[in-house]
C-alpha cells in the first residue's frame, strides 16, 4: 500500500516514444518507471505542494495565527517527524511498536543535557543546535539499533507488549539518571536552540521584517520536517523501502526472495528511533520543561498511543499521512475546547470533562478509521480524488 497504489492500469502501458507532445493532456501516462515513481508525478501534486509550502512559510504573518497557534504548529511538526519515524517501522515494515515514547524520551533528554544550561542538580553543556540535535537522533538511533535484534525475534502482540515494557524500563532509567533528567517529578529545562550564535527562540528583525519569538524556531522545524519527510519518502521508494514492505506483507516470502529479515528489521528500528530522537529533542524545546513522567511509564504509554493514533488516523505506510494525523491530533483538542461550551453534558462539574471528551473522541475515531477506512485520512482523500478523476463515471 504505497502512495501510488491507486495507479490506473493505463499508467503502465509501454509505448515507444515519450515526447512531451504525447504526454500533453494525458498526465497519468507514464512511459518510464522512474517517472512513475517520481515524488511529484502529477501537475496538481506539484501545484498543491507548492501552495502548501508557501502557506506554511507565510504562516507567522497570517493575521489569524496567534503566537500560541504558532507554537502549536511547531509542536505539530515535531510530532509529525516522530510519527514519520514510527510509520517507517510500523507502517512500512509492519513491526507494531508501543515503545516509541522511549526513544522520543532519549532524544529529549540527550538534547536537553547537551543543549541546556547546567543547574545545581543537572548537567548542561550549552552546545550548538547543530551538535545537540543530530546527537539526540544518533543516541536514540543507537539505542534502537541495540534493542532491535531483541525485538526482531518476536512478532505481533508479543512485540507490542515487549515494546510496551520499554516504556516502563525507560521511566526507571530516566528517573534514576537525575544528573540528566532532574529526577522524578522535578525535571529540567529543555535545550535552548541557537545555530552558530543565532538564537532561534527570541524575537528578530531581519531586513526590516519583524519576527515574533516563536517564528525562527517554527521555520527551522518546518524546514527540518520537509527535509526529513523527503528523506523518509525516498527511503520508502528505494530498495530498502521495498524490503520493508516485503517483510510486512509476508516475512517468510521476503526471506525466500533474499531479503535479509534481521538486517531489514534492525535498519527499520534504527531509523525509526533516529526520527523519534530528533522529535524528542524538538519537543524538549517546545515543552520548555520536561520531566521523566512525560516520556516514561503512564505518560510514555499515552505518548506512544498518541503516535500510533497519528499514523492510524493519518494513514499507515504514507509520509503525508503522519503530517495530516499530527495536525488532527494537535488541532482537534483546540476545536473541542473552543466549542465545549455548546455541547451538553461537557464542562467542569458535569458528566464529562473536556479532556475526557477528547479521549473518547480519539478512541471512537481510531476505531472508526480501523474498521471503515484503514488507510486513514489519506485514504479518504484518495477516494475523493479518484471520484473526481473518473467523474462523471463511477470508475
Amino acid at each position: 500500500m504505497t502512495e501510488q497504489s491507486d495507479r490506473t492500469p493505463t499508467g503502465k502501458t509501454p509505448i515507444a516514444t515519450s515526447s512531451r507532445a504525447t504526454l500533453r493532456g494525458r498526465p497519468m501516462l507514464y512511459t518510464e518507471y522512474a517517472r512513475d515513481q517520481a515524488l511529484l508525478n502529477t501537475p496538481s501534486k506539484r501545484l498543491w505542494t507548492a501552495l502548501l509550502v508557501i502557506t506554511m512559510f507565510a504562516m507567522p504573518f497570517l493575521p489569524f495565527i496567534t503566537r500560541s497557534g504558532l507554537s502549536d504548529m511547531t509542536r505539530l511538526m515535531a510530532l509529525a517527524i516522530g510519527a514519520i519515524g514510527l510509520n517507517l517501522v510500523t507502517g512500512y515494515a509492519g513491526q507494531v511498536s508501543l515503545g516509541h515514547a522511549f526513544f522520543v524520551g532519549i532524544g529529549a533528554f540527550t538534547g536537553a543535557a547537551l543543549g541546556g544550561s547546567p543547574t545545581t542538580n543537572v548537567v548542561g553543556y550549552e552546545l550548538d543546535l547543530l551538535i545537540w540535535l543530530p546527537a539526540a537522533g544518533l543516541v536514540a538511533g543507537l539505542v534502537g539499533l541495540i534493542l532491535a535484534p531483541l525485538a526482531a525475534r518476536v512478532r505481533g502482540l508479543y512485540l507490542a507488549i515487549l515494546t510496551l515494557g520499554l516504556v516502563f524500563i525507560g521511566e526507571h532509567i530516566f528517573k534514576e539518571m537525575v544528573f540528566i533528567s532532574g529526577g522524578q517529578g522535578v525535571g529540567r529545562r529543555g535545550p535552548s536552540p541557537s545555530i552558530l550564535g543565532f538564537e532561534l527562540y527570541v524575537p528578530h528583525e531581519i531586513l526590516g521584517i519583524q519576527f515574533v519569538r516563536e517564528a525562527p524556531f517554527f521555520y527551522f522545524v518546518l524546514i527540518l520536517l520537509i527535509v526529513m519527510g523527503v528523506l523518509a519518502r525516498n527511503l520508502a521508494r528505494s530498495k530498502m523501502g521495498r524490503a520493508f514492505a516485503a517483510v510486512r506483507d509476508r516475512d517468510i516470502a521476503a526471506e525466500v526472495m533474499g531479503v535479509p529479515l534481521l538486517q531489514t528489521k534492525v535498519v527499520a528500528f534504527g531509523i525509526s528511533s533516529f526520527y523519534g530522537g530528533v522529535c524528542g529533542a524538538l519537543l524538549a524545546v517546545a515543552f520548555g520543561q520536561l520531566t521523566p513522567e512525560n516520556f516514561g511509564g503512564l505518560g510514555g504509554l499515552l505518548l506512544s498511543v498518541q503516535f500510533l493514533a497519528i499514523i492510524l488516523i493519518g494513514g499507515v505506510a504514507t509520509i503525508s499521512g503522519p503530517i495530516i494525523g499530527a495536525s488532527f491530533v494537535v488541532l482537534m483538542p483546540r476545536l473541542v475546547q473552543a466549542y465545549a461550551g455548546s455541547i451538553p453534558f461537557v464542562g467542569s462539574g458535569s458528566l464529562l470533562s473536556v479532556q475526557q471528551l477528547e479521549g473518547i473522541l480519539f478512541g471512537v475515531l481510531i476505531v472508526l478509521f480501523l474498521v471503515l477506512e484503514p488507510r486513514g485520512l489519506f485514504g479518504l482523500w484518495l477516494r475523493v480524488r479518484n471520484y473526481w478523476k473518473a467523474w462523471p463515471f463511477s470508475y
Binding site: 531483541l150 505481533g156 534514576e176 480501523l370
Partner: protein, 298 residues
C-alpha cells in the same frame, strides 16, 4: 531466614494474584484472539462493588465478594455484547483498540463512582499476622495465594470437566468447526468475558485488601499481568500460573534485597523487574513457556 520466608510468602501471594488477572486475559484471548486491555478497569470496578456491597450495604464479606463477582461477570458479558461483538471479523488490532477505548470509558466511570470515597474492602484479614512455617507472615498474603489459586483451579475444572467448558475449548480451537458442531460461538465469547469479569473482581478485591484501599489509578497494577501472559504464553492458563508466581516472587525478592545488595540500580527497581524478566525470557522462547508457536503456512 525469617525475612526470606516472609518475602517468599508475599511474592507467592502477589504472584498468584497476577496469575489470576492473567487468566482473565488468557481466557478472552483464547476465545476471541483479542488482548483485553479493559481488564484493569474491570478489576477496579470489581473492588468498587465489593466495597459497595460490604461497607455500603453492610452485607457479610463473603456474600459481598461473591455478589460483586456476579455483578462484574454480568457487566463484562454485557460489555462484550455491546462493544466487542460488532468487531467479530474485523482485524484483531481494531478489536484491541476497542478494548483500549472500553478501558478509558470504564476508568472514567470508576472515577465517577469512587469520587472521594476511600475504597477499603472491610476484609477479615486486615494487617493481622499469623505463624506460618515458624515465621510471622501477613494473613492477606496467604489469603491471596489460596483464593487466587482456588479460583484458577475452579476455572480450570470448569474448562476441562463441564460440557460448556468443552464447548469453550472447542471455540478456542476452531470457531467455524465449533459452530458447525452446534456450539453457540457468540455465547461462548460472552461467557469468556463473564469469567474474566468475575476473576478480575476477585483480583481487584485482593489487591485492594493488600494495599488497604484502592483508587482508579491502581488499575495500572494489572498491567503487570501483561509480562505474565507473555512469559507464560498468551494462550496457556498453566503458563500464567507458573509465570505469575515466578514474577511475583522475583519482584518481592528484589524489593527486599536489592536496596541492600545492589543500590546502584536505583529505588523502586522491583517495579521494572517483571518487564526485564519478560524481555530476557522472550529471547529464549519467543512464544513464552507454554504458548503455542504460530504455525506459518508458506
Amino acid at each position: 531466614m525469617e525475612l526470606l520466608t516472609a518475602t517468599l510468602v508475599r511474592g507467592v501471594g502477589i504472584g498468584s494474584t497476577y496469575a489470576l488477572i492473567a487468566v482473565g486475559f488468557v481466557i478472552i484471548y483464547r476465545a476471541t484472539d483479542v488482548v483485553n486491555f479493559a481488564q484493569p478497569a474491570l478489576m477496579i470496578l470489581g473492588a468498587y462493588f465489593t466495597w459497595f456491597f460490604v461497607r455500603g450495604l453492610g452485607m457479610p464479606f463473603v456474600a459481598g465478594v461473591l455478589l460483586a463477582m456476579i455483578v462484574m461477570a454480568a457487566f463484562a458479558g454485557l460489555t462484550e455484547r455491546v462493544a466487542l461483538r460488532p468487531m467479530v471479523g474485523e482485524p484483531p488490532f481494531a478489536a484491541a483498540m476497542v478494548t483500549v477505548g472500553v478501558f478509558f470509558a470504564l476508568l472514567i466511570l470508576s472515577f465517577r463512582l469512587i469520587g472521594t470515597n476511600v475504597i477499603s474492602m472491610g476484609d477479615p484479614w486486615g494487617v493481622e499476622r499469623i505463624d506460618f512455617l515458624g515465621t510471622r507472615v501477613a494473613q492477606v498474603d496467604l489469603a491471596m495465594t489460596v483464593l487466587s489459586l482456588t479460583a484458577i483451579g475452579l476455572v480450570g475444572l470448569f474448562l476441562t470437566r463441564s460440557k460448556v467448558g468443552l464447548a469453550m475449548r472447542a471455540t478456542a480451537l476452531d470457531q467455524e468447526t465449533a459452530l458447525a458442531q452446534g456450539v453457540n460461538v457468540g455465547r461462548m465469547f460472552g461467557l469468556s468475558w463473564a469469567i474474566s469479569g468475575a476473576t478480575a473482581a476477585l483480583a481487584g478485591m485482593l489487591i485492594a485488601a493488600r494495599a488497604g484501599a484502592v483508587t482508579p489509578l491502581d488499575a495500572f497494577v494489572a498491567l503487570k499481568a501483561l509480562p505474565v501472559i507473555i512469559l507464560g504464553g498468551l494462550d496457556s492458563i498453566k503458563g500464567s500460573v507458573y509465570a505469575g508466581i515466578l514474577i511475583g516472587v522475583a519482584e518481592s525478592l528484589t524489593r527486599t534485597y536489592q536496596p541492600a545488595l545492589a543500590p546502584g540500580l536505583g529505588s523502586n527497581f522491583d517495579v521494572i523487574v517483571p518487564y526485564l524478566i519478560m524481555i530476557v525470557a522472550l529471547m529464549v522462547r519467543p512464544y513464552g513457556f507454554y504458548g503455542t508457536p504460530e504455525v506459518q503456512r508458506v
